[in-house]
């Protein structure tokens, strides 16, 4: 068991959005979170990553096994592609950036300033960061935004390679990733009950 989420509830801006979310991820498994806009996919991922407190429930995972990739890629425009990746490799205590560059075909762009990349290339750089972290469980929030079909296939290949190596991935997305083996989890039934209007705090939300 690499990640187990039990009976989790999360709130965004003080309003509970999800309640009673439970799932488990084994090694080699990918789980795709689905649900309409505003259901709380991003919030759930951030709570699992430990960036914000949950309303309730538990997250069980091996310490230092999670890595989070959000809407923003965390790329420094003034650094080159290789410098960006090497920084994260050093922070996570791994050293090798060659595999990541190769997987997302960033080799020819290695010495280009990250600020001069296109949106899709930046996204590929942001995803390449996952490979240099060496973490087992990937938490991905809309990973394929601004990627073309070829790059989406590249990303699916990277996820497959990660799963084959004994990793796991939790992905929130609307787009078909071409990952047929991934399980789907629809969050719509977990929508939290709206706050009662008699609730004092509720009147201010």
């Amino acid at each position: 068991m690499m990640l187990r989420v039990a009976d989790m509830g999360v709130a965004r801006g003080g309003v509970p959005v999800l309640d009673g979310v439970s799932f488990a991820l084994d090694a080699g498994e990918a789980l795709v979170l689905r649900g309409p806009n505003g259901i709380g996919k991003t919030t759930l991922l951030r709570a699992v990553a430990g960036l914000q407190p949950a309303l309730g429930g538990r997250v069980e995972a091996a310490p230092e096994s999670l890595v989070y990739a959000g809407h923003a890629d965390g790329i420094k425009a003034a650094l080159t592609v290789a410098e960006n990746l090497r920084f994260w490799a050093q922070v996570f205590g791994t050293g090798d950036i060659a595999t990541a560059l190769e997987t997302f075909r960033l080799g020819p762009l290695e010495h280009r300033q990250a600020g001069a990349l296109s949106a899709g290339q930046k996204r590929r750089l942001g995803l390449a960061r996952l490979l240099v972290t060496g973490r087992a469980v990937w938490l991905l929030d809309e990973p394929t935004v601004s990627l073309d079909t070829e790059a989406v296939a590249m990303f699916a290949g990277a996820v497959r390679g990660h799963l084959a190596a004994g990793g796991a991935a939790l992905i929130a997305t609307h787009i078909d990733l071409g990952l047929d083996e991934a399980r789907l989890l629809d969050l719509t039934p977990c929508r939290a009950a709206p706050l009662g209007l008699d609730d004092f705090d509720g009147a201010f939300l």
């Binding site: 951030r46 990553a49 430990g50 960036l51 914000q52 407190p53 230092e64 999670l66 890595v67 989070y68 990739a69 959000g70 809407h71 923003a72 890629d73 965390g74 790329i75 420094k76 425009a77 003034a78 650094l79 410098e83 920084f87 994260w88 050093q90 922070v91 996570f92 205590g93 960061r129």
Partner: protein, 218 residues
Amino acid sequence: MIALLTRDMRLAVRAGGGFGLGLAFFLIVVVLVPFGVGPQGALLSKIAPGILWLGALLACLLSLDRIFALDWEDGSLDLLATAPLPMEGIVSVKALAHWLTTSLPLVLAAPVLGVLLNLPAPGFGWLLVSLALGTPALSVIGTFGAALTVGLKRGGLLLSLLVLPLYVPTLIFGAEVARRGAEGYDVTTPLALLAGITCGTIALLPFASAAVLKINLR
């Protein structure tokens, strides 16, 4: 940790990093003072330690909002928070990087600018010592202020309002060391208090900064 420090230093000196802006601001402020006060050597040499300290403090304040704001905007701060670095370590390294890129050049430039303000000869050494000892506190307190205002749009003014009152003790004792040194008096007491303030802030404030940063990331 070292990777974060080298990255921050590299970002500061690359295009758009703002390296040297604080230094240029300090230079201009100090050059403007004699224009405002007029050519009165005796008066200038009397107010020189205070002006130099105030100029260094304001120049330091100028670059504080960049400490976390840029990392917040591009999402690096979220990623750093989930990286295997303790948050206290991240804020300490950020404060150190700020000191090295902003405050240290101010410290080194201050004696040169002292000439413009007719600073008495014995004051140069003490000015350097007081700034070297006091500016780490300015960077650490400023990092705390930057952590408090990190999620706010245009939080720069609020940051100044929060941080300037906290700078008062450092300014009082720092300028006092420089003044007494320039006038040839004993500097032990203000020097000890200045060192105490700096050590205290370095020891305690990173924990407070890390705590508010965690809350601001929610």
